[in-house]
């Protein structure tokens, strides 16, 4: 259950293994029992014998089946403070990608009264106060007064969770008998400049997400998926109250699998109060809404109030523009992802994709999270990755995932993105060999080239470039194993990173043209 969407999926044993029988997404606010009953009835309509075998009967019987439930919770607010602006920036970067909405201030930019007002605000549920380890000279002269201020706030609001990071740990004594407080006082490592992840981020995520939280379960689900597929998997979620990014890799040589999870409330589809920055970012990705800022802001507010309403026609384009803007914010708060080896598979999940056509989802992901190389995209269409991730026992989780892996992912397609081509002339050619047939394609930089490759079809794509390009490694000749999807095989010959015209009309034409390549199959 999410803040905007309620999804029910029916999983049953058929043919000796677990199968996804069906799924139904509805706007939040719909009665959960009605959603489950409607899902059960549809399963009966589709295959009465299978439904009977699964003990699903018309009416209310589906309600009695065992349930696995996860909930995405609204992010809470963390006040981030430090003695200097230089010290507060890495703390904010770490907290913002760790499941918290943040407000921040430092001794440089805020007087004690303003800082007290910020910390006493009713919406603040925790305080992260940090210093370098050891503190720098500019921090040391302010640390004493700031510690006294925060200790006083901690005394006034005993329910607040206080995290003392880095050099602030030395000031634990100022907080008195911390064992008697209702809220915890915790010690954490210092934030690392330019690397927002790490141990402090792990601690903050642990504090931010309740145990039944969908985004927490998304991380463990990603790990199980990576182990079952034996591939590097990235999961990208855009939701009503935030976005999440999980990077999972299977263990190598009997080692443990790895997981990096980032939860970014700023990457919400429609932020609560869309400022000019948010509106401008959405308008960049919209061919319809670019000209009228006020109208666009109104529509973003409406999207926040009723996320499922007005989803047709220009409402659909608004959602995809807002989704791209949210993906952009997610990418900005997780810069360390750019330095990693690219994933083999990117799985999109979240309520925002529930009403979008599959090729549009693939294009949105490719537009924003683009990097040179080849990558397969898939959609968690029934939203069961997080519920599967919530299964406490790792072996049981893997067993379920093994059975369901073919059902849970809708293949969107494979994108091949070479970088470093010279514009204005043919960059080379492509031959796609599949099942004894061949497709030939000339590669013109600046656009998208589509090869119709249906879901489940494997092929080899052989690229011959005129000049050396970056495609994983550098070279002129590449042979890549690809698989089809709802969007087929897409060769993305646009710039990396994507450059869009400043003029709204030109930008709109370009966005429409790219969209039409995937929707109608017309090359640009």
């Amino acid at each position: 259950m999410g803040a905007a969407t309620t999804v029910a999926a029916l999983v049953g044993r058929a043919g000796g293994r677990w199968r996804l029988i069906g799924a139904l997404s509805m706007p939040a606010g719909a009665d959960l029992e009605a959603v489950i009953t409607a899902l059960g009835d549809r399963a009966i309509d589709a295959d009465p014998r299978l439904a009977a075998a699964l003990d699903v009967h018309r009416g209310e019987a589906a309600r009695d089946l065992p349930r696995l439930e996860v909930v995405s919770h609204a992010p809470r607010r963390l006040a981030v403070v430090a003695a200097s602006d230089r010290a507060v920036d890495p703390l904010v970067a770490t907290a913002t990608r760790s499941g918290w909405r943040t407000v921040s201030g430092s001794g440089d930019s805020m007087d004690p009264l303003a800082m007290s007002t910020m910390l006493l605000d009713a919406t603040v549920t925790g305080i992260l106060v940090g210093a370098g380890d050891p503190p720098a000279a500019d921090e040391r002269r302010r640390l004493g007064e700031m510690t006294a201020l925060i200790a006083a706030i901690a005394e006034r609001r005993p329910e607040l969770t206080i995290i003392l990071a880095g050099g602030m740990a030395e000031h634990l004594g100022a907080f008195g008998d911390v064992g008697r407080r209702k809220g915890e006082v915790m010690l954490g490592p210092a934030a690392t400049v330019d690397v927002p992840g790490g141990p402090l981020a792990d601690l903050l995520i642990e504090l931010a997400l309740p145990h039944d939280d969908a985004r927490r379960a998304l991380g463990t689900g990603a790990v199980a998926l990576a182990e079952v597929l034996d591939r590097r998997v990235d999961v990208v979620e855009i939701g009503f109250d935030g976005g999440a990014r999980a990077s999972a890799a299977p263990g190598v040589g009997g080692g443990s699998p790895t997981l990096d999870l980032a939860v970014v409330p700023d990457a919400a589809l429609a932020p609560p109060d869309p400022d000019d920055t948010v509106v401008d970012r959405v308008s960049i990705w919209s061919s319809t809404w670019g000209a009228d800022r006020h109208r666009l802001r109104d529509r973003l507010r409406e999207l926040r109030i009723a996320p499922w309403s007005d989803a047709i026609s220009d409402g659909a384009t608004l959602r995809m523009a807002a989704a791209r803007a949210a993906l952009g914010r997610l990418a900005e708060w997780t810069p360390e992802w750019n330095d990693r080896v690219g994933p083999d598979l990117v799985v999109a999940t979240g309520g925002v994709w529930a009403v979008a056509p599959a090729p549009s989802i693939a294009l949105a992901l490719e537009d924003v999270l683009r990097r040179p190389g080849a990558c397969q995209f898939a959609l968690d269409h029934a939203r069961i990755l997080a519920p599967l991730g919530s299964i406490p026992d790792a072996d049981e989780r893997r067993a379920m995932m093994t059975d369901l892996v073919d059902d849970l992912l809708a293949p969107l397609g494979t994108f091949v993105t070479p970088a470093g081509m010279r514009p204005g002339r043919s960059a080379g050619s492509l031959v796609v060999r599949s099942g004894g047939g061949e497709s030939h394609l000339d590669l013109m930089p600046g656009g998208l080239a589509l090869v119709d490759l249906p879901p489940g079809t494997a092929a080899v794509a052989e690229f011959q470039f005129r000049d050396r390009v970056k495609l994983g490694g550098r070279g002129k000749h590449f042979a890549i194993d690809v698989t089809g999807g709802l969007a087929g095989l897409v060769v993305d010959l646009r710039d990396v990173p994507l450059r869009l015209p400043d003029r709204a009309d030109l930008r709109g034409e370009l966005l429409d043209a790219w969209q039409s390549v995937l929707v109608s199959g017309r090359d640009t």
Binding site: R297, A306, D310
Partner: protein, 328 residues
């Protein structure tokens, strides 16, 4: 149609009870009530500092200050008690105390029981009565006699000085100029279905300018019931508002709500199949939900779960379930 079918339509509360309203405090503000206190309409609950500043003091002998407590300043002349401030924190042998010279009193807009007081943070009062929830409220807590106004869009010229002290229901939409004029003419508040982002921004800027002038502003609030685009008030909400017309009501901002205390007012449950179309070409219309018809393809090639709605003119329409709402 089954009740379960209608259950697929997102539900919205028509009236909520109990109402716990929160009044924010900032350092320096003085709560004039304590938990458990009973407050009446118009009772002062907060003394709000306009010009808070932080001063340093040494604690008098025999006094053990605590953060968040009141700091009693010495009497300058006469027998009256001296001014007080809010104790903040202790640093380098001196206490930091928030003080100010000018304070405004904030009154409770409804009767109720004080549930919680946290100095510097807020006061929570449980209202005696019920509330109609909105999506946002701008301004501050206010109260007045509810008066029905224009059905469509209210223009600034349509405001009558005879409406001073009332809370006006203005229908589908209102602009910032009308809101500013309403406040200037002594209107206590406005209830509106939609307020666009531009008007909202202009009104907030106007409020900020007024406050900066250090004049005490009369209480005024704008309660937005639906959203940011033009649409008429829902029929079920209109019926409750019509029943409350002529009676005292209050607007609170956290949560955004119109609060009324009429225990004898019976509000019948809206029919379970009554739905309202929030958006799309039929926006604002209401009808009877017939049944859910499963996924349908709509304009732009979008596939959405849909429901059949029987409209009052006798026609039927297939509407995305996400565009519908029902009141409970």
């Amino acid at each position: 149609m089954t009740t379960l079918d209608a259950g697929l339509v997102p539900a919205r509360r028509l009236v909520v009870s109990p109402v716990d309203a929160r009044f924010a405090l900032v350092p320096g503000d003085r709560a004039l009530v304590s938990p458990g206190d009973s407050v009446v309409v118009g009772a002062p609950i907060i003394e709000r500092l306009r010009d808070a500043r932080l001063d340093e003091f040494e604690a008098p002998d025999g006094v053990d200050p605590i953060p968040g407590g009141r700091w009693q300043l010495p009497v300058k002349r006469g027998d009256a008690a001296g001014p007080t401030g809010e104790t903040m924190f202790f640093w380098q042998d001196r206490w930091r105390v928030t003080l100010g010279d000018v304070a405004d009193a904030i009154e409770s807009p409804f009767a109720g029981i004080v549930r919680e007081v946290q100095s510097g943070t807020g006061i929570t009062i449980r209202a005696a009565g019920r509330g109609i929830p909105g999506v946002v409220a701008l301004g501050g807590p206010t109260r007045g006699r509810l008066q029905t106004g224009a059905e469509g869009e209210l223009r600034s010229g349509g405001i009558d000085v005879g409406s001073a002290g009332t809370i006006l229901i203005v229908g589908s939409r209102v602009d910032a100029e009308t809101l500013t004029r309403a406040r200037a003419m002594g209107i206590s508040g406005v209830v509106v279905a939609g307020l666009s982002s531009k008007e909202r921004r202009d009104f907030i800027a106007s409020e900020a300018r007024q406050r900066a002038a250090l004049h005490r502003l009369p209480p005024f609030a704008v309660l937005v019931l639906d959203g940011a685009i033009r649409r008429p008030l829902a029929g079920a909400v209109q019926a409750v508002l019509a029943a409350l017309a002529g009676h005292e009501v209050a607007i609170v901002t956290d949560p955004p709500m119109l609060v009324f205390d009429r225990p004898n007012l019976v509000i019948p449950d809206p029919p379970h199949d009554l739905v309202r179309i929030r958006s799309g070409t039929l926006s604002g219309r209401e009808g009877r939900f017939v049944k859910a018809v499963g996924p349908r393809r709509f304009a732009g090639g979008v596939q959405l779960e849909a429901g059949l709605v029987h409209l009052p003119d006798g026609t039927m329409a297939a509407v995305p379930l996400g565009d519908l709402e029902r009141f409970v």
